[in-house]
């Protein structure tokens, strides 16, 4: 059987369309019915935010800088941080250690961006002081970073705060310990003036002792102790009492006070932390020839890497794997340090490799020795019940065993950095507010949602319900590098700080690190991945094959039309910053 061959030339126009086009709009095809997983926008936590011991919203201000909102970025920073111009210079920036960009082309130079914003705040008109809305008065003892942070955040909450400082100038370790070439005093002074302008009153020359404590307790509802750690540790070796063997911190305090103690030619600095680096570089600036004696190697030194680098570059000498065993004299004068030669054994409980003696010895000549192996807090006027293990014991929010007595910073045995002290001050401010509100019978917010990530410091803005950043379905988890889609970023190496050479003849204490400068700092901010936080880059919208994503009309960022989202996951895969995750449908 044959069938007719049909239309011949010229035929009718067939009903089939001329191209492969759907007869109806694709909207009738509810591809959403296919999905078994669906995308969800979640703002997560950038590793820098979790890494910051002071609880700063680093990613938040980077996102504002990307939009060109420099003033808003500076304000967001100031919300969580009383002294960015200081930490932009002296912080050990653990935020950068966590930065996901470090796995790509170098961590964002967050410290330099912070410094730019901090300097911008100092150049601007001071903020109007917060009007006191609370009747409870708070005394803060000590005007170092922990004390000033606590006072700053409490003042913002409406508390009248008095800071009591025993020295004649505020600043604590920032002024006593940190050399001018790292932290120019005009910057420090301006930063403290800005804190005062925000509503904090500082009383200098006021020493709180066991005798004066009861009177202070009667005048204030709460006391926060942030008295620091100023007692230099001894090594317990022969000759430590000899003239010429000094505590490094005492040496720094004298130089920072304007004195120029005679050092002789060779100065041995014992230790590998920031105090040791400060001592060595200060001695260098006074014309001496410093030698750092450290019992481990450069890799184990706890000092900030840039400080070690600067010391090295300026000509400080290092003797590694040497542990002092005795200080020696010749002709009645100090002649040097006898040391045991060490080697590195397996890692100890702190994770660092332990030094063990090899049996060999060496001798380091020195006219002066500066001990920089750590400091301990003065525990007067503390009652016995609040002291544990040589430091003041506190709970998560800074409260001691004595009710309404709070403490924090170096005095409580934290890792002794400026950022940690700032975080301790902030935690105590939240703790004090919480305690006082509870006493007044007021319900207090849940503290479990305050931290930046599972191990981060808290956000005081969140505690105050004053966080200006839109957060969509936030998840308190940190974005790992694997969740960053680097295909959407170009390699742009980290910008290096500008470093001035040591100028012994001219101004040896002039600031060494010049930062990046405003323009380069903004470029550097543009390197931020904005890990975990949607910045409306629109790649999800562009890549969605079902045109299911659109800009939100109800205050969010994007809406997904689940009638058409078929759960392919391309939005989550393409999201450069891990702000979209796929979840099981119906669960």
């Amino acid at each position: 059987m044959s069938e007719p061959i049909g239309t011949s030339v010229p035929p009718r126009r067939p009903a089939t369309p001329p191209i492969a086009v759907s007869a109806t709009t694709t909207e009738v095809n509810k591809t959403g019915a296919w999905k078994y997983i669906r995308p969800v926008y979640h703002d997560r936590v950038a590793p820098c935010n979790q890494g910051c011991p002071a609880g700063v919203d680093v990613e938040g201000y980077m996102a504002l800088l990307r939009e060109g909102k420099i003033d808003e970025a500076a304000e967001l920073l100031a919300l969580e941080h009383p002294m960015p111009a200081v930490t932009g210079r002296v912080c050990n920036h653990p935020c950068e250690s966590g930065c996901n960009r470090g796995h790509f082309d170098g961590a964002v130079a967050i410290h330099a961006v912070e410094r730019m914003l901090g300097d911008r705040l100092l150049a601007a008109a001071p903020p109007a002081p917060a009007a006191p809305t609370r009747t409870e008065r708070v005394a803060v003892v000590g005007s170092g970073p922990a004390g000033l942070a606590c006072a700053y955040h409490l003042a913002a909450m409406g508390y009248p705060v008095d800071v009591l400082e025993r020295e004649d100038r505020a600043g604590g370790m920032l002024r006593q310990g940190i050399p001018e070439y790292r932290l120019p005093r005009d910057v420090l002074d301006a930063q403290i003036r800005r804190i005062e302008a925000s509503g904090v009153t500082i009383h200098t020359g006021v020493q709180v002792t066991e005798a004066t404590l009861p009177e202070i307790r009667s005048r204030y509802s709460v006391i926060f102790f942030a008295t620091g750690a100023y007692l230099g540790r001894l090594l317990g070796v022969e000759g430590e009492e000899l003239p010429g063997v000094w505590q490094g911190l005492d040496f720094l305090r004298r130089v920072n006070a304007g004195l120029r103690p005679p050092l002789g030619e060779r100065v041995a600095v014992i230790g590998g932390g920031n105090t040791a680096m400060d001592c060595a570089r200060t001695a260098l600036r006074l014309g001496a020839r410093p030698i750092v004696v450290y019992r481990r190697t450069r890799d184990e030194m706890p000092a900030i890497a840039e400080e070690i680098e600067d010391a090295w570059r300026e000509g400080v000498e290092f003797v590694f794997l040497a542990a002092p065993t005795a200080f020696r004299t010749a002709d009645g004068l100090l002649s040097g340090v006898a040391c045991a030669r060490m080697k590195l054994a397996d890692a100890g409980p702190d994770g660092r490799r332990r030094p063990v003696a090899t049996g060999e010895s060496l001798f380091v000549q020195a006219d002066t020795v500066l001990l920089a192996t750590g400091e301990d807090p003065e525990l007067e006027p503390w009652p016995e019940e609040v002291v544990r293990g040589g430091a003041v014991a506190i709970d998560e929010w800074g409260e001691t065993a004595s009710p309404l007595v709070f403490a924090g910073g170096d005095v409580s045995g934290d890792e002794r950095t400026v950022a940690r002290a700032l975080g301790a001050g902030k935690r105590a401010a939240i703790g004090i507010d919480r305690a006082l509100r509870r006493r007044a019978g007021v319900a207090t917010p849940d503290t479990s949602a305050l931290r930046w990530g599972p191990t981060g410091a808290p956000s005081v803005a969140r505690w105050r319900d004053a966080d200006p950043v839109l957060r969509v379905a936030p998840l308190n988890e940190v974005v790992p590098f694997e969740d960053v889609n680097t295909a959407h970023f170009q390699l742009r190496p980290r910008n290096a700080d500008r470093h001035a050479a040591l100028d012994a003849a001219g101004a040896p204490f002039a600031e060494v690190n010049g930062g990046l400068g405003d323009d380069v700092a903004l470029v550097e901010a543009g390197r931020c991945f904005n890990c975990g936080v949607c910045n409306e880059c629109e790649l999800c919208l562009i890549f969605c094959g079902d045109v299911a994503i659109s800009h939100s009309h109800d205050g969010g960022r994007f809406d997904i039309d689940m009638n058409f989202c078929k759960g392919c996951g391309v939005c989550a895969a393409e999201c450069p910053r891990g702000a979209i995750s796929m979840t099981r449908e119906g669960l």
Binding site: P10, P11, R13, P14, A15, T16, P17, P18, I19, A20, V21, S22, T24, T25, T26, E27, N29, V547
Partner: protein, 386 residues
Amino acid sequence: MRKVIVGNHAVSWGVKLARAEVIAAYPITPQTQIVEELSEMCASGELKARFIKVESEHSAMAACVGASATGARAFTASSSQGLALMHEMLHWAGSGRLPIVMADVNRALGPGWNIWTDQTDSLAQRDTGWIQLYCETNQEVLDTTIMAFRLAEQVDLPVMVVLDAFFLSHTAEPVDIPDQELVDRFLPPRRARYKLDVDDPHSYGALVRPDDYMEMRWHLQDAMHDAVARFDGVETEWATLVGRSYGAVESYRTEDADIALVTSGTITSTARHVIDQHRENGEKIGLVKIKMFRPFPTDALRLALAGIDRVAVLDRNFSPGQGGIFAAELRSALYDLPAEDRPAIYGYVLGLGGRDVTPAVIDGIIDHVRMPGIPARADLWVGVKA
């Protein structure tokens, strides 16, 4: 405005006057000047088009396909190996019925590496669903470029405007450049029959089963058929405005002729010069120029060659294993004519890879084709060295 410009810039001017909206191209000698000039026109703002830099010719055509699918007027240009690399995407434009316009500067394919003129590159793309229009002068290049957009958008088919390497692309001669206002009257903004539209979303290019594919191909054939007549209409409209037209097929001095040369591209021009000389000697010889190769203008050619005894087809191209491509197509078009009406067709392959075709070469072909008793056999290769 009349200017002395090279053929490549005649294309650029045509594209500018046609107000192309998207241009995507990758450079290749001898086409580069076309898009170089267009990129400068875009940069200076005199042409408000999106210029897309791409990493290959395949991507250039892909970009044009995407742009055209949104309803934009898209243009690209290429040559030789570049055009060959586009091949797959040429089908997407043709069978996708997207009215893209492309200039192809005819250049020989390698190896051996050769940048000179040869039509094999464009002719190798004859089955991709593109209309092909070959040009003889820079004026024709400019006019054809503008007309190509009009034709393409009338029949929803892409158009390839073809010009010879160097003999047109790099040769400067006077060209009348029409006023924008006049071109705007001739070529209104594109109104796409189908276009990507988020407010009326349709799916495009999806799977088509055996029970529909053939009908779509019939539509394509029908559109090609339609294009022959439409081209006449487009030319008539253009001629009313500027006084110039070319014809899908043009007869030159074929009245009472016994012998006709069939040519395309710039060989036509030199051949006209030769025909004039022979006519001065009283010889009955003429010329038929093929401008439109796809769709193949069968009816027009039958008409043009009616009454001619012998036809010499000059092919600056060849299909290996077959011969000159125009000759083969012409034989096929005339085969079913009654034997007494069908001229004898002689194929001459010449000028490959840019070898010069001088009046003397054409004289030699005329001498050959009128020799008594020669059989119409496989194509003769002209001037191959011993």
